[in-house]
Amino acid sequence: MVAIIGFALGVSQAALALLLAPGLVGLVRWLKARLQNRRGAPVWQPYWELAKLFRKEVVVSSNASWVFRAAPFIVFASTVAVALLVPILLVPLPFDGVGDLLVVVYLLLLGTFFLSLAGLDPGSAFGGMGASRAMTVAALAEPTVALAIFALALSAGSTNLGQIVARTMSGPAAVSPGHLLAFLALFIVTLAETGRLPIDNPATHLELTMIHEAMVLEYSGRYLALIEWAASLKLLIFFSLLSNLFVPWGVAAGLTAGALTLAVASLLVKLVILAAVVAVLETRIAKLRLFRVPELLSVSFVLALLAVTSSFLLR
């Protein structure tokens, strides 16, 4: 019985994330528009876009193979699988034994891998360009992610997400300078992995600047809808990792109605704060040239390295 409840909770948590995700993207866009003195589309605009895309027919290039058709499904499934593994509302996580933080990182890499292959598949230069850049950024972000995991695992004694959250929740002593540095490092990685400014511009359609948009240029209809939905879910996953791994207060530890309400409320507050931060950042800074991106990523790498060594020494 307990197992069934846990299963249901895990699934409904992921379902909630899936439902909230397009709204989060809409929120960032709306906040950005407001900051730029534009009226902006309503927050729920991405939902209409998804609905419209689902109703449109798919056009597939004659050069493309089954990889192109399978990639949207693999990307979506792997992202949803990640959503099942990360702490969004409550701990202990029902699927904690299935995968830890390393599994999360490599599942996301699985999606990027197939999306890049799909970018190459139709044989256009745009797709190849996007695939090449996306894999470059993903590869260079990887060491930072691993070190941030190391820093978290050092203080929690485990790479399992539930345990990390539980450890940080157990007291303010668990928050250290290492935590702060790891947070900053992971924040930069979040910008890189989710294709936000200054690494990638989600609003651009200029071939010289785009990464994600170039890679998915050939997609249309339900395939594009799946990819866009997965991308927004990825943003939500990174945001909830940032908030719940480092600032877990509010995450429900028990199954009472009050705790769950508090968890939902605190999740929404954290998402809004992070969305506001990203919106302000995207208004204030310009996109980096592609060959300046490694510099930013090495900054995040150094931050993560300092996080680990300080966690080591301050234990």
Partner: protein, 676 residues
């Protein structure tokens, strides 16, 4: 066990004999393959029996070469693991070779190819079976020589001969160093059996132990292809026939790992912390630099060869972490590190074997290894493409395949370093974690390139357009390895305890600590991480199955049509508009320009009337590994100078040679007399 051992020898002997007596033709090639498959299967069965029962198999022939203690075979669990690995890869590679070697009919000697292949497998199987120094070195040399001649199969290409030269020089330098390590150990030992060496090892002085370890590291490291001793690997592996490349990359370089484990862990019983740290450092360096050079390669097989350097690096990181933990007296973590290294050894054998066989099918169909001439092969060779994709995902450490399972274990072992309160560990472990992560991210980028450019989009040449699917037996070989990649990825909880048991009684690893979890979620002692590949795979499959259903429920449009790739309004798309392998790797080439130091050569021809009209542009860019030049140029110069000097001895006169012979013989006799 005795009969299985005999069957293994008989199988390989049969294959070799068949090749000599009846080379070529469908039947002849089939017999050669049958010998390899039979020998491999028998070896695998023998290895499994030793692994599962734990009773070592011993066979003595003291009368053979009795002056050096005779031949002695003793298969313990560690040896059985590597023997099993040879057998495990011999079966698919043998099958694959049956059809693949058809391409050599009339081009190369099939008699030599078949006989050498079986002898190579035979001697390689016997390396981990050796119970004394003579047997070990004898088999080691047999393995090296047969593989050298196999590399030379395509002698019509000058590059091959050069590659063979590099290989021969490096492997013999390695042999000399390994021999020195054994001799140093044997000085205080009663005999040269491994048992006596092990008993005598504690009596060695610390500096002698360090010397033995360093000699073994250099000697076996050159076979394993660890940086900077890897120079022969990207040259020799692509030159060999593809099933031989698969065996060389999949198992032969692992014999270097075996040698290092046998000497460093078993005979010496582990050592000070810096041994492990050195292995981790070399491993991390190999992993990152190996994959960085792989990214710049457009020769499909050479790209794979550089990835072998990367993966050997990952294996060394695991084993190094194990040795390091052992020196701190942490048996559980030491076991974890070693098991991670051994697991990656097996996994790498599977996916690298698979990828080499896949690359071989492509080369077989196209007659080129240059990726820039490929493309669109997924439609012409759908099965090969699928198998190659499985291998590419596995080597990129994507869950739930086997590469991920072992890299996860290596990560967990390194994270376990937090148990050691030492500042130097606080520096080494995080850097190793970062390098490992960078290597795996870059490997994923590299295999997007390798698979995407080779198999996807439009064919870039007429040869790629007319490509054909590989014959059945080649497909069968690849299918076996692809299934192994999936199985090893899903069943780590079944494999890990067996790997743990191979370490029982080696070094100071106590058997009690080897009880790694046998439950479904992989849980590791010391470093508490948890994951369950079967459940993960199940989850992904369920989600993938539910998705189309969900789409139907959402009322998504199901129609679709096929159109042209969008070309900015231009009609008609040619392969020249596609992204190339060079272009794909360009961002990373710029990021790591300091390491690559590419040479560029740009010449533009302007129209005589105006310099705004360009008539032609020639662009050439090449990357020469400058580290190799730095390290190998001065010894090569020295050798060349010495060779000029030695040449004076060669006067061409028979009398002079007779004189040399007599003098050498007399000197040897006097020396032997003295030694007594």
């Amino acid at each position: 066990m005795r009969s299985l051992f005999a069957l293994m020898l008989a199988g390989y002997a049969l294959g070799a004999a068949a090749a000599v007596l009846r080379p070529g033709g469908r039947g002849g090639r089939g017999l050669v393959a049958a010998g390899a498959v039979l020998g491999g299967a028998a070896g695998l069965a023998l290895a499994l029996q030793v692994l599962l029962t734990g009773t070592p198999f011993v066979l003595e022939a003291p009368a053979v070469l009795s002056i050096a203690d005779g031949l002695l075979f003793r298969i313990d669990r560690l040896g059985a693991l590597f023997l099993g690995l040879v057998g495990f890869l011999a079966v698919p590679c043998g099958l694959y070779g049956a059809a693949y070697s058809e391409g050599y009919e009339g081009r190369a000697s099939l008699r030599l190819l078949g006989a050498l292949l079986n002898l190579f497998l035979l001697t390689m199987s016997l390396v981990p079976c050796a119970g004394n120094v003579l047997t070990f070195l004898f088999m080691w040399e047999g393995m090296s020589l047969t593989s050298y001649f196999l590399v030379l199969t395509e002698t019509d290409e000058p590059e091959t001969v050069l590659a063979g030269g590099w290989y021969l020089a490096m492997t013999h330098a390695g042999l000399a160093l390994a021999l020195a390590a054994f001799l140093l150990m044997a000085t205080s030992s009663a005999s040269t059996t491994f048992g006596d060496l092990r008993a005598a090892a504690p009596a060695l002085s610390p500096s002698a132990r360090n010397a033995v370890f360093l000699l073994a590291l250099l000697g076996f490291g050159s076979k394993a292809g660890i940086m900077p001793l890897h120079v022969w690997l990207p040259r020799a592996h692509p030159a060999a026939p593809s099933h031989v490349s698969a065996l060389m990359s999949g198992v032969m370089i692992k014999m270097g790992v075996y040698g290092l484990l046998r000497v460093g862990l078993d005979l010496l019983g582990g050592g000070p912390t810096w041994w492990g740290a050195l292995l981790i450092g070399l491993g991390a360096l190999s992993a990152v630099i190996g994959v960085l050079y792989a990214l710049m390669e457009h020769d499909l097989k050479r790209l794979l060869a550089y990835h072998s350097v990367e993966n050997i690096g990952i294996i060394f990181i695991g084993i190094g972490a194990g040795l390091m933990f052992q020196s701190f007296g942490l048996p559980a973590l030491a076991t974890l590190g070693m098991v991670a290294g051994l697991y990656h050894t097996i996994n790498h054998a599977c996916f690298k074997g698979l990828l080499f066989l896949g690359a071989g099918s492509v080369a077989h169909a196209l007659g080129t290894r240059n990726m820039e001439e490929m493309g669109g092969l997924i439609k012409r060779m759908p099965r090969t493409a699928l198998f190659f994709l499985v291998g590419a995902c596995a080597i990129s450490a994507l869950p739930p395949l086997n590469g991920f399972a072992s890299e996860w274990l290596v990560f967990q072992a390194l994270l376990g370093g937090s148990a050691i309160p030492q500042p130097e560990v606080a520096v080494v472990m995080p850097l190793a974690v970062a390098m490992l992560a960078l290597a795996s991210g870059l490997a994923a980028a590299c295999f997007v390139k390798a698979f995407g450019i080779t198999f996807l989009a439009i064919p870039r040449s007429a040869r790629a357009e007319q490509a054909h699917e590989a014959p059945r037996s080649m497909q069968a070989g690849m299918a076996m390895l692809a299934m192994a990649c999936v199985a090893l990825g899903l069943l780590p909880f079944a494999v890990v305890p067996i790997l743990g048991s191979t370490l029982a009684g080696l070094g100071r690893v106590t058997p009690a600590a080897i009880e790694l979890t046998r439950s479904l979620p992989l849980q590791v002692p010391g470093a508490s991480g948890q994951m369950s590949p079967p459940l993960l795979a199940l989850g992904l499959v369920v989600l993938l199955a539910l998705l189309p259903l969900g789409l139907r429920l959402l009322g998504a449009e199901r129609r679709g049509r096929v159109g042209d790739t969008w070309g900015c309004g231009r009609i008609g798309q040619t392969p020249r508009m596609e992204y190339t392998a060079t272009a794909f790797a360009e961002p990373l080439r710029r990021v790591f320009a300091e390491l690559y130091r590419p040479t560029r050569d740009l010449s533009i021809d302007f129209h005589p009337a105006s310099k705004y009209f360009v008539q032609s542009i020639a662009y050439r860019s090449e990357i020469h590994p400058w580290i190799e030049r730095l390290l190998y140029n001065w010894p090569l110069r020295g050798i060349r100078r010495a060779a000029v000097w030695v040449r004076r001895l060669q006067a061409g006169s028979l009398h002079l040679y007779l004189f040399y012979l007599t003098v050498a013989f007399l000197v040897l006799l006097t020396m032997a007399r003295w030694w007594r």
